[in-house]
């Protein structure tokens, strides 16, 4: 881990079997109510029988470097941390939901009980202690690689240099911190 970490994730969709372990792990880790989600899996189908394939794409907050949700927030509750994480200060959130509508990734959700908007924080409370987000640690096929892009020796830095990755929604000028291997 470098002195000024820049947290990022590489998601290898060619290994994702859509088991939803990451979704369930996130649910427990963040003690989410039944119908609130920080991450999800999207499924696509290609081709015609018998030339056919599917792809599962894990989707969540992309921790954009140009996050629309931060720009639109009228109270400054949504903010970008120095380590790249997009976070919400729930004390400042008035629940206008403008950020939800601004997010191309549909990554934000209203907390039913308290009314604030919350989202994936890369399990920020664990970071800096050599710990991984819940979705990363539980993945049976190692779809997710998480780490510090500013550390040249991190697994993610090495992978980013050797694999072709894409940022989803790059066109929208969001500059995501999650990179996908589409295969």
């Amino acid at each position: 881990m470098s002195a000024n970490p820049k947290w990022a994730m590489i998601i290898d969709t060619t290994r994702c079997v859509g088991c939803l372990a990451c979704v369930a792990a996130c649910h427990n880790q963040n003690e989410l109510p039944m119908t609130e989600y920080f991450n999800r899996i999207e499924e696509q189908e290609f081709g015609h029988f018998p030339n056919y394939n599917r792809r599962f794409t894990p989707m969540q907050c992309q921790h954009c470097d140009n996050p629309p949700c931060v720009g639109v927030c009228p109270t400054g509750a949504s903010y970008k941390r120095d380590d790249g994480i997009v976070a919400v200060d729930i004390k400042k959130c008035i629940g206008c939901k403008y950020c939800i509508l601004s997010c191309p990734y549909n990554a934000r959700v209203v907390n039913d009980e308290h009314g604030y908007v919350h989202k994936c924080s890369f399990c920020a409370g664990l970071l800096g202690k050599d710990d991984l987000p819940a979705c990363v640690g539980t993945c049976p096929t190692g779809v997710r690689v998480f780490g510090d892009l500013n550390d040249p020796n991190s697994e993610i830095s090495k992978l980013a240099a050797t694999k072709k990755t894409v940022q989803i929604g790059k066109d929208l000028n969001t500059r995501p911190s999650i990179y996908y291997i589409i295969g």
Binding site: T75, I94, G95, C96, G115, T174
Partner: protein
């Protein structure tokens, strides 16, 4: 054989902004529109169009106040509403808008008072101050009318909103709505506030001409919006399809296009080209009511359909 994707779901489940936000944007539009029309009439000929000036001034402060109540109740945490006014986030249209609307509310109240028959504020002699109020009122109401569209059009995640035509459409529509509100008031307040014998007819004629012009531009803006979206990205085309051909098509074509544009346009054209000189309250009433209905429906359609469609990412 190339890989082609079979599934492409465009309709999402959630509505985050409901009718309260539609009402908020609609009422802000009426207030801003009424203010713009009133001040414009005042600049052109305050004596001849005194009824327009006064009706506009009397309307302006109130719809937006009701709208603000709606906005507060749409918040998930309405008790924290005040946080909007303890910070200024220049990047956030909503934050900027909250400040503009606050200023607008203040100015519109002052403008309302100075247009009352009695000179409560002892300002009638101070022309400079009054003109400053009018000028700032004009600028602020323009900003409010633009704000309602910019609030939506700056979100890249929502293809239906993310077009420069949305603020144009909603701006023109806001002035039409303000004008319609003034027209309705003049239907109720027979004779207006004029001293001259034909004042109501003058005011009405003014309203009809402006209305005709704005409806003409609104129909152009709508056409450009439809053509532009229809020839845009897959996201835009599929979002537009939800409006023009999906579950919103009846609201859009009948509620907005027919009731909100075509019928008032025909009514205005009839009055202009048949050279109807006298005010026909029943016709004005129908035309203004339809225009307001169209104004509400188009916002409702745009807000709902905009939320139910999103930019296709991959």
């Amino acid at each position: 054989m190339g890989n082609h994707q079979i599934k492409r779901t465009q309709t999402l489940r959630e509505i985050y902004w409901n009718y309260l936000i539609t009402f908020y944007l609609f009422s802000a539009g009426i207030s801003a529109g009424a203010m713009i029309v009133s001040i414009a009439a005042d600049f052109i000929n305050p004596a001849k169009y005194v009824s327009v000036v006064r009706a506009g001034a009397y309307i302006a402060p109130f719809p937006i106040m009701a709208g603000m109540v709606g906005l507060v109740f749409d918040l998930e945490r309405p008790w924290l509403f005040w946080l909007l006014l303890t910070t200024f986030q220049y990047k956030s249209i909503m934050s900027v808008g909250a400040w503009i609307i606050s200023l607008f509310s203040g100015v519109s109240i002052v403008y309302f008072i100075i247009n009352l028959p009695k000179d409560y504020l002892k300002l009638k002699s101070k022309t400079g101050t009054v003109n400053t109020i009018k000028l700032s009122g004009f600028v602020l109401s323009t900003c409010v009318a633009l704000y309602t569209g910019l609030l939506l059009s700056t979100l890249t995640a929502r293809p239906l909103w993310n077009t420069p035509m949305i603020p144009v459409l909603l701006f023109i529509s806001a002035i039409i709505d303000g004008l319609a509100a003034i027209s309705l008031v003049l239907c109720l307040k027979r004779g207006g506030w004029g001293g001259a014998p034909n004042e109501t007819d003058f005011s009405h004629s003014f309203i009809t001409k402006v209305d005709f012009t704005l409806l003409y531009f609104l129909s152009l803006a709508t056409a450009i919006f439809l053509i532009g979206m229809g020839r845009s990205t897959e996201s835009a085309v599929s979002a537009l399809a939800v409006v023009t051909g999906g579950g919103f098509s009846v609201s859009f074509w009948i509620g907005f296009v027919a009731a909100g544009i075509v019928i008032p346009f025909i009514a205005a054209a009839y009055e202009l080209f048949a050279k109807v000189k006298t005010h026909k309250p029943w016709l004005s009433f129908i035309s203004a009511t339809l225009a307001l209905l169209g104004g509400y429906i188009v916002r409702s359609v745009i807000i709902d359909a905009g939320q139910l469609t999103k930019t296709i990412l991959y």
